[in-house]
Symmetry: C2
Amino acid sequence: MSAKLDVMAEYCIGIDIGATSIKMGLFETSGKLLNKWEIDTNKEDNGRYILSEIVSSLNHQLGLQDELKIEHSNIKGIGIGIPGPVTGDGNVSASVNLGWVNVSVKDQLKQLIDIPVKVGNDANVATLGEMWQGSGKGYKNLVMITLGTGVGGGVVIDEKIVSGFYGAAGEFGHMPIIYDEVVRCNCGKCGCLEQAASATGIINEAKKRIERKDIKSILDKVENLTAYDIFEAAKAGDELANQVIDRAAKYLGIAMASITGVIDPEVFIIGGGVSGAGQILLDLVKKHYMENVLFLSKDTQIKLAALKNDAGIYGAARMVLE
Amino acid sequence: MSAKLDVMAEYCIGIDIGATSIKMGLFETSGKLLNKWEIDTNKEDNGRYILSEIVSSLNHQLGLQDELKIEHSNIKGIGIGIPGPVTGDGNVSASVNLGWVNVSVKDQLKQLIDIPVKVGNDANVATLGEMWQGSGKGYKNLVMITLGTGVGGGVVIDEKIVSGFYGAAGEFGHMPIIYDEVVRCNCGKCGCLEQAASATGIINEAKKRIERKDIKSILDKVENLTAYDIFEAAKAGDELANQVIDRAAKYLGIAMASITGVIDPEVFIIGGGVSGAGQILLDLVKKHYMENVLFLSKDTQIKLAALKNDAGIYGAARMVLE
């Protein structure tokens, strides 16, 4: 082996497959992002072209990185995040968003490219990303909760993703939390956390209270109400808006205290679109967490996510360094 | 090294420190229990004699095992379960039951005996015991919930105990579950799982309903009511008793569905005195778990514990094989 090869940098690749686009990133194993790009998600024929289009795009991009002299042999691996449950052996039983049923991602990629592959659930992978280069840097035991259209998340213990036996670890959105809920969640149950703490849940609750007309609100006349509108109204002192976000934070705080009763993480990271509300959300969540958590864990850190939409590619790349 | 030494069996020792007695067991590393014995827990002077008395008893017992020719050098280690939170590095910040405050068990034992030591929380350690030689045999990802005077438990992922950052993982008893509870739990909060699902919780609920006199019950005249009485009455068809245990099982099922939303274990093991109720409890818990869990995990196993009071020594011994 030549001296040149000895000092050559090593690389890893992170891929985050979403319902509309596939994000890809080339990283140094140190955590430095060298290049990122996207392709559309081709959902034709139940997503059967997705993996081959990823490999084509990857080979094309690697070819463009002339000055780095990247060979397949100095890429430690490719990590891939998938929107759906992934078991420990890297199989995807179903991804509704991609049209996949029983896809063995690892085996299929082995036919297409000679680089080791690791596969994980997208939310779990994003948690690992925040641990590597985001708000979770320096922590080994963390939980990320993603508040978006739904509520998802991930669990990392000793720097490793916890997948769960059925690939359902970190499915915080479907913890049974709201006992008096009568509307059904998408999952078929009633009273899931995401019915209160997702953007959808927050909007639904605000609409319900606006219709009730108990109190006047600056939201009364807003059309196409968004979670952003509600947080802005709350910041401006609107009582109805404050009741709505306090309710969301209350159920989130209860769920987080329960999560602590299970694995007692060092830090919670709150991500997803709703986390854009920032400090007002964080303060309320901390208050309700403290009211519900066992005294032993009263010093758990609660932080906002840092990597936004790039958490997935960071975490996917980090997976291959485990 | 002689041929004789090559085939010599290896041993490990499991110790379970309780508030009234200390259980100890000598095991082959295969999992075979060779000998078990107990000494009283000496709580004088904040439990300062406990560790030295353990070592005296251990050396005495090893001396009696002449035919096994056990030397310290062929004992792989000593595992110890402690009633209180234990952090990953084996330190005990406080054990109310023993009178201990900031005891570094590992360091103190190193002064007393030349065998490697591992320390864990007693409930976590018992979970590992059930995994090794009990109802959890063959599983790698399991949760044990212990229903006794209080409610405790443990989490094992990939055959390893999850301790939690503050040593509070597996503290299922203090998950915030009963929203309309007004009586305080021992921990200072209101509405902890153990207020419904412990023996104490079950008895308190039965007494409350008996005093209300809404329905006649064969428990109306029972003095010094026990959880055993209530389960027996339920089996005999008593309506009040059935309402009480259904309520306990409901909150337990909700908590278990939440636990699954966090780590999605392959199996739940129900232990502790209350689990002696057997099938009637198991059936109710399964029913309520199924009503509350996300469909992905509807096939989670739920079983009764097998090792009873020996789970602690088994798990402690297993800890040193990690």
